[in-house]
Amino acid sequence: MKSPLDGLGKSLLDSVRDLLPILLVIGFFQLVVLQQPIPQLGRLLAGTLLVVAGLTLFVRGLEMGLFPIGEALAHAFARKGSLFWLLAFAFALGFGTTVAEPALIAVAGKAAEAAAEAGLIARDRAALERYADGLRLAVALSVGVAIVLGVIRILKGWPLHWLIIGGYAGVVVMTAFAPPEIVGIAYDSGGVTTSTITVPLVTALGVGLASSIRGRNPMVDGFGLIAFASLTPMIFVMAYGMVV
C-alpha cells in the first residue's frame, strides 16, 4: 500500500499552480487598476496557505475515497441486478444532496423576494418562507428525477444529446410562459445544485455503471449525469413559478 505522503510535494505544487491565477488577478486589479495597497497582506497569505493545503488534501482524498466509493457502489448495484434499488439509490442521492445544499437555500430565499417584489405572493414572512421551501423541494425533486433519468439512460445506452436538446427545447418553450421575474433565478438554479462532494460521487457512479455494463463505453455513456442535474432544475423552477 502506498504511503499517504507519496508524491505530496507534487500535489502541493499542483495546488499552488491552481491558485496562482486568482492571486495574480487580485494583485493586478488591486495594485494596477484600483491603485490601492493590499489590505491585511498577512491574512491573505495565511488564507492562501490554508486554501493550498485544503485543495491538496481534497484531491488526495478524492482518489482514495470519493471515487472508489462511487465506483464500488456502481459495481455492487450492477452485480445485484435490481433495477428498483439502483433507481431508488439514484433518486435518494440526487434529492438528499440537493435539499440541504447551502447555495440552494440562499437562492431560494432570493427567489422568494423576487416573487414578492413582482406581486406573485404576499409580502409577509410566512408566504416568503412557504415559497422558498416549495422552491427548494421542487429543485431537489428535479435533481432526484435527473439522476434517475440519467441512470436509465446509461442502462439503455440512449444518446445523451437528444435528451439534452429536448430538455433545452422545453426550457425555451417554458421561458415564454413563465413569469419573467422567475426566469433569471430558474436559469441560475441549474448551476448551483451540484456541490463539490456530489459531483465526484455522481461522476464516479456514472462511469462505474457504464464500465460494468457490457456494451457501454464509459466515456460516451458514463458522463452526462451532471448535465441532467443542471437541466431539470430550470424546468422545475419555471413550472413552480407558473403554478404558484
Binding site: 500500500m1 499517504p4 491552481d18 491565477p21 486568482i22 488577478v25 487580485i26 487598476v33 484600483l34 497569505l45 495565511a46 488564507g47 490554508l50 493550498v52 493545503a53 485544503g54 485543495l55 491538496t56 481534497f58 482524498g61 471515487f67 466509493i69 457502489l73 445485484k80 435490481s82 434499488w85 439509490f89 435518494a92 442521492l93 438528499g96 435539499v99 440541504a100 417584489e117 445523451l160 444529446h161 433545452y168 425555451v172 421561458t175 419573467p180 433569471g184 436559469y187 441560475d188 441549474g190 448551476g191 448551483v192 451540484t194 456541490s195 463539490t196 465526484p200 460521487l201 461522476t203 464516479a204 466515456m219 460516451v220 458514463g222 452526462g224 449525469l225 451532471i226 448535465a227 443542471s230
Partner: protein
Amino acid sequence: MEFLALVADAVRSTLVDVLPILVIILFFQLVVIRRPLPNLRRMLQGSVYVLLGLALFLVGLEEALFPLGEIMARQLTDPAFIHGVAHREGMALSWSDYYWVYLFAAAIGFSTTIAEPSLIAVAIKAGEVSGGTVNPWGLRIAVALGVAAGIALGAFRIVTGTPLHWYIIAGYVVVLAQTVYAPRAIIPLAYDSGGVTTSTVTVPLVTALGLGLAGTVPGRSVIIDGFGLIAFASLFPIMTVMGYAQLGRWRARRAQR
C-alpha cells in the same frame, strides 16, 4: 489560534452538509447491498481527507480571498471609479465605459474556475476514462475560458439591460449546432462541464459582481438583473469544451496529412 477555531467550525458545517450523503450511502450499503466494501480503511481515510480538505479550503477562501474579491467587485462597479476612468464626469455612462468591469469579470471567471475543486475531480476522471485522449489540464483551461467569456458577456448584459433569455437561447442554438459536428465521445463531458464549473469558488465572487453591477448601473434592479451570471457561466463552457475537442480533431487530421 483564530484560524484554528474557524477551521473547527468549518469542519462541523461541512460535516452537516455531507450528512445526507453519508446517511444515504450507509443505508444502501448496510440494508440493500450488504457486502463488505473493498479497501474500506483507505476509503474512510480518503473521505476524512476530503472533508478536512474542503473545510480548510473554505476557511481560507472566506477569510482571505472572498472579502478582498467582493470589495474589488464593489469598487470596480462604483460609478465614481468608472467616471474617473471615462474622464467625463456628469455625463451619462455608455456601456463601453465599463471595460475594466468586463476585464475583471473575465479574469475572475477564468481564475476561479481553474481552482474549482469539482472541475478538478471531473477532469481527473475524464483523463482516466478517456485513456489519455482528454488532457485534464487542457479540459480545465477550455472550461475556464468558457466561464471567462460567459461572465464577461453576462456583465455586458447587466450593463445594457438586455433580456437574459435571448442570450441563453442564442447560446443553446450554438450548442445545438456544435453538437452535430463535435466528436461523439466529448459531448457528454461537454454537457457535464456546464454544471460543474460553478460551485464553491466561483459562485460567491460572481454573485458579488452581479449584485454590485445591478446595484450601481442606473435603471437596473438588483433582484431581476443581478441574477443570470451563473447561467452564462454554465452555458459557455459547453461550447468551449466542444470547441476544444473539435480543435484537437482538426489538428490530428492536419498532422496525418
